[in-house]
Amino acid sequence: MASTEELTTGFLAGRHTLFAFIYGFVKNPHDAEDIFQEVWVRFSRAVSSGVEIAEPQKWCRGTARNLILHYWRDRRGEKLVGDEELLDLVELSFAEQDGNQEYWRLRQEALTECVKELPARSRELLQLKYEEDLSAEAVGDKLALSAAAVWMSLSRVRKLLRECAERKLRPVQP
């Protein structure tokens, strides 16, 4: 049975993918943070009370899945699209990547650096669309762009980020 320290280390190693899983479904970064922290609290409580956890990442994803279902149920009036089948498929996607944690960790670090290296205008675009959750029209108004141009710019920035991360990872890519 893994020690408390090992379990905690396991959780911390997979925290980026766990947050990506939650954020992908919840879409609002603040609510995603709340669910992420609740998963951590439940995980810590389970570890302190001696619950046997063989795979921390899988255990945390299962807990997050339940919390996401609750989240969807509590926000039925906000026309959120909740789909359990999609949830199952995404969970499968993440489960397939559990063995590549180290690669994903390095990729996350590279991507984070790449975001920092983006021009100020691109970062502002990401800020308005992803963090402040504005519509494409509202973002366009602020940046003097059309909605279509906003979508196009976002797509271009994401492509740049991918390429940047691959460039940084090339020497160590498996």
């Binding site: 992908g24 999609l86 498929l89 984070t112 992803y130 492509k159």
Partner: protein, 469 residues
């Protein structure tokens, strides 16, 4: 932009139609599709993390220039101000930090309450002078006039012929002349130190774990709530308990096998002195005594209702037009079962006297069994006789009422006894008796002192502690 990327973007921004959702699920049936989803969502997560960190750093840098906090979710989201508040809270909870600080705060509050309600009032005693007394405070001698508050470190010295009353909370201590008493700092209860002298204490109920403690050169007395008399000399402490129980601890060297402390019960006495085994013995041989000053010649036993109590165990000097009445009370311990007859007499019949007896130890059942009206032509000074001479000088047959009717008493039973005399000179008073072994026709003999014990109860009319005759 691939079709899958478009679907994932539409999902993320909430613009995915039902058909597109179905299409997305079909893509996710393949391994490549699932890998693409992971990639897309990982980029989303990185954008969020990088922007949050950048925002937090910008906030830190901007803080000195704009101290006013930004308001609103958009500018200061919770997760940016404090990345893991729940995590930190959880850590505090599991490391018992909160219970520790909670217990510390509770302890502080309890300590404050104890200080406020117990320690601060316990520091202050009040001395009320009735005679000549001084208080020594910081090497200064302060004459005691009227009432005066005493504090730890103060030393009360009583001189002259009248007692001084010391009150401390509900405790009242009559400090007799020649007594040197010091108020000590209250630690786990009130504390006094008596170097020498005599005091009679009526101690109110004290907390069980914080008794009143009186230190003497040879012993320590611990009292929870009682009435007792303490007589202290350089190396001897004599404790007589009238009511309740007192613990006496001998603080000088004890004999081999001798206990170092005992509990002295009601009606018992104990002496702590070098070479004397510490033991509780029955308190017999005398009656409790006090005096009443009546405004006019009273019916003797009504003096307690018409007069005022003389607060002091020493004999009072009556003022003009006042009559001093002595009252003695206690218990008669019948040495054997049988018929007893009692006499009351005064020296040469010069004073009036009354003898009262109860069928048990309850004072409220007492009834007068003998009475001497006394002669009125007193004028010549009377010599106080010795015990033997007194028995011969007493006029036992002056009046018929001096003799009681025969009464049946049981061995080992306590009978409440009360004597009133219209004189403060109790040496001139005598009680005689015929026991079952005496001849009925012979003269009465003086009552055996071992058959008398001081009063140890409390009655409603008179709560003054009695002294030794």
């Amino acid at each position: 932009m691939s079709r899958l990327d478009h679907l994932l973007a539409a999902w993320h921004h909430g613009t995915l139609s039902a058909e597109e959702l179905l299409e997305l699920k079909l893509h996710l049936q393949t391994r490549e599709g699932r890998a693409a989803l992971i990639d897309y969502w990982a980029v989303n997560e990185c954008i969020h993390t990088a922007l949050s960190v950048a925002q937090a750093e910008a906030t830190e840098v901007e803080k000195p220039r704009s101290p006013a906090p930004a308001v609103g979710r958009q500018t200061t989201p919770r997760h940016r101000l404090f990345l893991f508040p729940k995590l930190v809270w959880h850590e505090l909870r599991i490391t018992w930090a909160w219970p520790f600080w909670g217990a510390a705060a509770l302890g502080l509050i309890l300590l404050s309450i104890q200080l406020y309600f117990e320690w601060i009032p316990a520091c202050t005693a009040t001395a009320q002078a009735q005679g000549q007394a001084t208080v020594q405070r910081h090497n200064r001698q302060i004459p005691l006039t009227g009432s005066m508050a005493l504090y730890p470190g103060d030393q009360l010295r009583v001189a002259g012929s009248s007692a001084t009353r010391l009150t401390w909370g509900g405790t009242s201590i009559e400090v007799n002349p020649g007594t040197d008493i010091e108020i000590l700092n209250p630690v786990r209860g009130k504390r006094l130190s008596v170097a020498m002298g005599h005091l009679i204490a009526s101690v109110s109920s004290q907390p069980r774990l914080r008794p009143l403690r009186i230190k003497t050169p040879s012993a320590e007395v611990r009292v929870v709530g009682t009435r007792f008399s303490l007589n202290v000399t350089q190396d001897t402490t004599r404790l007589e308990v009238m009511h309740g129980a007192v613990r006496l601890m001998k603080t000088i060297s004890t004999l081999a096998g001798e206990p170092s402390d005992i509990v002295v019960q009601e009606g018992q006495l104990a002496v702590a002195a070098p070479g004397v085994t510490l033991a509780a013995r029955p308190l017999t041989g005398f009656l409790s005594q006090d005096f009443w000053i009546a405004p006019s010649q009273p019916e003797l036993s009504t003096a307690s209702r018409t007069g005022v109590a003389w607060s002091g165990s020493s004999i009072p000097s009556p003022g003009q037009g006042s009559n001093v009445v002595a009252k003695m009370r206690g218990y008669l311990l019948a040495p054997q079962t049988g018929s007893y007859t009692f006499w009351i007499a005064t020296l040469n019949g010069e004073s009036g006297a009354e003898l009262w007896l109860s069928p048990d130890d309850n004072p409220s059942k007492k009834e007068r069994i003998a009475r001497l009206t006394g002669r009125t032509d007193t004028g010549k000074p009377t010599q106080v006789p010795t015990n033997l001479a007194a028995a011969r000088s007493m006029d036992w047959r002056r009046e018929p009422g001096q003799k009681s009717a025969p009464r049946i008493l049981r061995e080992g039973t306590r009978y409440y006894l009360e004597v009133w005399a219209s004189t403060p000179r109790v040496e001139a008073l005598a009680i005689g008796w015929h026991t079952p072994v005496d001849s009925d026709t012979g003269p009465p003999r003086m009552i055996d002192p071992q058959a008398l014990a001081p009063f140890t109860g409390v009655d409603a009319l008179d709560d003054q502690p009695g002294g030794r005759p």
